[in-house]
Amino acid sequence: MSRLGTLWVCLVFGFMYLPIAMIALFSVNTSDVMAFPLTGVTGQWFAEILGDGRLGGGFLTTLAVAFPVALLTTLLGAAAALALSFYATRFRVLFAALLLLPFLVPRLILAVAQLILFKELGVSRSLLTVIAGQSVIILPFTTVIVASVLIRIDRRLIEAAADLGASGWSSFRRVVLPLMGNGLMAAWVIAFVLSSSEYVLTAFLSGRQQALSVLVASDFRFDLSPSLNALAVLIVLGNIALVVIAEAIRHRSGRLN
């Protein structure tokens, strides 16, 4: 049974990584046709991508959005997770449903709804609208990440702090916050990754400055060049690196608890 299971899991993971592996292969293939057989190894596509000035601007815009989004969603996610886990508010279930809502509404529908809102308010599209829009859909993720760390915190630690004379805020600051720290860092990284790869909302709510995901969208659709493979590899590697860091941080926090 276990061997069948192992085989199945290998197949599934193979399926999951097949597209990524393909892209990686073709990103170093000399031919500009993405087909087998492979003709040779080259770094030209990476060079082409890294030298593309247009993409440089897009990259900076992506950063200009991702940093604020990550910060904002981490703070709000932590607040939400705390409200849910520790301080059981009376409307807990309702609150949880509200937190899930952005995840459950189809992204495009939320995008157009926000577009209408901004139009009615007279707010023109810009980086700020992108940041606002992205924050809402990333919030459920950061909340879940921080909540998962909070759940592991032993309540008795807080009771012990109270027993030793700590007030509410003090016991939070000296007991909960340090233990939560790693969860916050992990949430930040995940939020950053999700923000940098987000397309739908970004496309809808962007003003003149366009993030990387929007810039290359038309390229992905119509102008399939191997340099896009290189770009894809860079993005995936970057994301993997960030996620590995996030998991390492969360592991550290798991061991502390």
Partner: protein, 285 residues
């Protein structure tokens, strides 16, 4: 400050943010669905014109039905594929568990367009799959129907959302006590019965939750069908996209959006009731 009130104070900014950027927009969207468009301006006289149009249009009805059909299909496929994976992760993976879970989620972080792009490469006539099959001698000419077809769309949809189903199922398997399976064997149940009478009912909540998640996300995914489905890639969501773009009819788009939302909410309600009932039944001793 007492914990109770601290909780409320903490929740306040979050509620405000969600209210302003999620509830309010959806409310305005709802309002808009009753407006109508008059060349390039939007008239604010309320009417049910848009909804009537949707109900009467065979096209729209068909698109909506197709969206939910795809949702169900992909939910079913991911359930079948993901079920053994979740079992393995919970029961057999041991120390490798967290690493495997993380690895499972990595493809998610690469972004929508990238994933679609990858499948374009794989499924095309000159793509890897066709080339490999020809090289293996399995076929003589490249299969044309791999790309720009419903097949391509559904393969990519399964790929996109399988991790979510696995996570939902994995959580259910984690709370499945092995002692229950041993007890079933002890009492005479052969393997198949142990699955049918113990494992399946007790993982049902996970199936429903995972299925709901996948269902919603498939229904809302317009990029994948649009870029991989070719002629079949028109979806109700992409119709909304057009109505807010080139086809300029925001009220109609809003009405379609809210129709979808309403049906989705019904599905959630049904799913939530199902989960509650099966969890009540499956709650640990």
């Amino acid at each position: 400050m007492r914990p109770q009130s601290a909780g409320t104070w903490l929740a306040l900014p979050v509620v405000a943010a969600l209210g302003a950027l999620c509830l309010a927009p959806l409310a305005i969207l709802f309002a808009y669905s009753f407006f109508s468009v008059d060349f390039v301006t939007i008239s604010h006289d309320p009417s049910l014109k848009n909804y009537a149009r949707i109900l009467q249009s065979e096209t729209y009805r068909g698109l909506i039905a197709r969206a939910f059909g795809s949702g169900l299909l992909v939910a079913a496929i991911t359930a079948v594929i993901g079920y053994p994976v979740a079992w393995f992760l919970a029961k057999r993976a041991g120390a490798a568990k967290t690493m495997l879970l993380t690895l499972l989620l990595v493809p998610l972080y690469s972004g929508d367009l990238l994933r679609i792009f990858a499948w374009r490469v794989l499924l095309g006539a000159e793509g890897a799959i066709n080339r490999s099959l020809i090289w293996l001698g399995a076929i003589d000419a490249p299969l044309q129907g791999l790309l720009f077809s419903p097949l391509a769309t559904h393969i990519a949809l399964t790929y996109n959302y399988l991790p979510f189903m696995v996570i939902g199922l994995w959580l259910a398997f984690e709370s499945l006590d092995d002692a229950w399976l041993e007890a079933a064997a002890d009492l005479g149940a052969p393997g198949r019965d142990r699955f049918r009478r113990v494992t399946l009912p007790l993982t049902a909540p996970g199936l429903i939750a995972g299925g709901l998640m996948v269902f919603v996300m498939v229904v809302g995914d317009y990029l994948t069908p649009q870029l991989l489905g070719g002629a079949s890639g028109v979806t109700v969501i992409s119709a909304i996209n057009d109505l807010f773009g080139t086809a300029f009819d925001w009220p109609l788009g809003s009405a379609i959006a809210w129709t979808m939302l309403a049906i989705l909410m019904l599905c959630f309600g049904a799913g939530a009731v199902l989960i509650r009932r099966s969890s009540l039944v499956a709650e640990g001793a």
